[in-house]
């Protein structure tokens, strides 16, 4: 019989450590685990079910998309149009299968999903831009914007994890707003630089200020205001 010397409770014969305090039982005292289990090795009914549904969605979507691609290929060979419309369409459809794959969460960590989405979008842009034989907008416009967007969202995600907030309904919107507040000026800078070769902020300032205010108000309502701010507000605005 194994005991936990810290909790003083008797443990299962097959227990490797105390369930209460994680005190490790000397390996010599642990009996064969599988033989003496009182609960079976459990199957997670929930993940099992959601996996089945996910697989069905991906399978059905891929099948339909591939059929469409085939039809487009045939049409392309028959019509042989001047314009490269079919190439554009096929590129987008193939990419959409990959998007569905990513969004269904087959990859575990959200940061990885975000980075993959960024990479995929960039590759798609490169491909679409390359169809007419010359790279034009994908280098100057798409690449910096996609890189900045991905970077901002990955950082926001990491900071959110670090924050360990319990109330997701409040904090996810706050973090997204703050992320956008940083992202929009950066995008405007890229646009300004490409168009006019200068760095100047106009519309993004308005959006950033309102997003920051919104998050500030929501967070303030959640945390309630500290006493001294309340006190000062009362002092200034009392009637």
């Amino acid at each position: 019989m194994a005991y936990c010397c810290q909790c003083g409770v008797e443990l299962d014969e097959h227990a490797e450590k105390c369930p209460l305090c994680n005190f490790e039982v000397p390996p010599a005292l642990v009996k064969d685990r599988d033989k003496n289990r009182i609960y079976p090795r459990a199957v997670n009914a929930h993940t099992h079910q959601t996996d089945v549904i996910k697989n069905k969605i991906l399978y059905a979507y891929s099948l339909v998309s591939l059929a469409v691609v085939l039809i487009l290929l045939v049409l392309n060979s028959i019509l042989q149009p001047e314009h490269k419309i079919f190439q554009y369409a096929m590129g987008c459809i193939v990419a959409s299968i990959l998007y569905v794959f990513l969004l269904l969460g087959y990859i575990k960590r959200l940061t990885r999903i975000l980075m993959s989405l960024g990479l995929l979008t960039w590759l798609l842009c490169m491909f679409l831009d390359s169809i007419d034989g010359v790279f034009t907008w994908s280098i100057l416009w798409a690449m910096p914007i996609i890189a900045v967007t991905t970077l901002v969202f990955v950082i926001v995600r990491i900071l959110y994890r670090r924050g360990k907030h319990t109330n997701h309904f409040i904090f996810i919107p706050i973090y997204i707003c703050l992320g956008l507040a940083v992202l929009l000026p950066l995008i405007e800078l890229i646009i300004q630089y490409n168009l006019f070769d200068r760095f100047k902020l106009t519309w993004s300032l308005v959006s950033t200020i309102s997003l920051v205010c919104f998050s500030g108000v929501v967070a303030g309502l959640y945390y309630q205001m500290p006493e001294y701010i309340k006190e000062r507000l009362i002092r200034i605005f009392h009637v």
């Binding site: 409770v9 299962d12 369930p19 009182i38 609960y39 079976p40 459990a42 997670n44 009914a45 993940t47």
Partner: protein, 422 residues
């Protein structure tokens, strides 16, 4: 009698307490509790199936399927009993209430254990226990070459909605309780469930309670309050995060009202202490519990709670919302209002007795609470002969509460044997 007139296509409404449960059911809020009988020998699946078939004949009220109406779910009687299953999933996760034609219970076995998992949509612990005893008796008879009991003398009102019977429309509402303290622990994966059971002597427990001049239930309730108080005092939570500790204590109303129903008939009492007022000693906690129960455990106050539970059904504007909209809204409302008003719960089904010769087959009984996202740690207890099983069902990896609680019990001099599913 009554059942004879029932054909296979007869149906009945969900009772008041169970009405919302199919709408809120998910893998983290399964609304399914489990009663386990640990036998002295390995379970024979064939006998168990026959025992269940016979028990379903005795209690046709359980042999039903859940169906969707336009506004509410309802139960439809079926002829064939469900199949017994080898245990595969995490505890309290075997029933998919949202599926079409869901059974409200399932009977599982694993090695020496028989588990009855039942949704609160149809019955509470006491009702399920009546059915479970019938299955166990039949199992004993079959394994000793006796004929199973297929028919029992039906008592009038065994399948009644007792809430409806004792509903008094004119009573005022009971006082609202404030928002309760919640454990800030991280949740585990959806669909998983952690069980930590402690087995100890019932007489030993009574001895411990006697030292404080109280009953075993109140004694354990006191320890649970003290455990949570210790946790709050040792954690560095800000004053804003601390709210009163409120423990949900289900009360079996069959002891207070004249009903023999096997369907839901319980309400939740909510003893509480407010740790913002200062540290409570054991005597002070016991005094709070004693006074609270003395005030509320009488038919006058219980009738008020019954009325509050039942009244919701009568709002016509709630009733006429189509079911699919209810299914979308009710989980949110329930998580916010229903579960947020408790910190945790302690359900005690009491000391269960089986008549001879059936009693010799069973080693001890166990009871598991339904997992709940709003109350991530819940406790239940059940006693059989001299063995009490106290189980914590948890949706978190953090064992602080269980550790503090069982160490306290150990310090009172009880010998505790731990069992877990992880």
């Amino acid at each position: 009698m009554r059942y004879k007139r029932k054909k296979s296509d007869s149906w009945f409404k969900l009772d008041n307490a169970g009405k919302l449960y199919p709408s809120i059911a998910s893998s983290r809020v399964s609304t399914t509790f489990r009663i386990t009988a640990v036998l002295k020998e390995t379970v024979h699946a064939g006998h168990l199936q026959l025992a269940l078939d016979a028990a379903c004949k005795c209690y046709p009220v359980f042999n039903v399927r859940l169906r969707r109406g336009l506004f509410w779910y309802y139960f439809e009687n079926v002829n064939e009993a469900p199949k017994v299953l080898n245990e595969r999933y995490f505890p309290c996760n075997s029933i998919r209430l949202r599926h079409s034609h869901a059974m409200p219970f399932s009977l599982l076995y694993y090695k020496k254990r028989i588990h009855l998992e039942m949704s609160h949509a149809i019955s509470d612990g006491a009702g399920a226990m009546v059915f479970f005893k019938c299955i166990l008796k039949n199992y004993y008879r079959l394994s000793h070459h006796m004929t199973p009991i297929r028919k029992i003398q039906l008592v009038e009102g065994q399948d009644e909605d007792a809430f409806e019977k004792y509903y008094q429309p004119k009573l005022p509402n009971p006082r609202k309780v404030s928002r309760a303290f919640h454990f800030p622990f991280k949740l585990i994966e959806k669909g998983e469930y952690r069980i930590t059971t402690g087995l100890f002597s019932y007489d030993g427990l009574k001895g411990c309670a006697a030292k404080y001049d109280t009953s075993p239930t109140k004694f354990l309730l006191m320890l649970l309050f003290e455990t949570i108080q210790d946790y709050i005092e040792s954690s560095n939570l800000s004053m804003r995060e601390i709210t009163p500790i409120i423990i949900n204590m289900p009360v079996d109303l069959r002891g207070y009202y004249d009903s023999v129903t096997v369907r839901n008939f319980f309400i939740s009492l909510t003893p509480q202490i407010d740790v913002r007022l200062g540290h409570y000693t054991r005597e002070e906690i016991l005094r709070e519990i004693d006074h609270y129960l003395a005030l509320n455990l009488n038919t006058k106050h219980l009738s008020q709670y019954i009325r509050r539970n039942f009244r919701n059904e009568l709002f016509w504007h709630v009733r006429v919302i189509p079911l699919f909209i209810k299914n979308a809204i009710i989980p949110i409302v329930y998580n916010y209002y229903g579960e947020s008003s408790y910190t945790t719960s302690l359900s005690n089904i009491g000391s269960v007795k089986m008549e001879a010769p059936y009693d010799t087959m069973i080693e001890h009984l166990e009871l598991l609470p339904p997992p709940s996202e709003g109350n991530i740690i819940k406790a239940t207890m059940i006693s059989y002969k001299d063995i009490t099983a106290l189980s914590f069902g948890s949706l978190t990896e953090d064992r602080t509460i269980e550790r503090l609680f069982f160490r306290k019990l150990r310090e009172e001099g009880l010998h505790i044997k731990m069992e877990t599913n992880y």
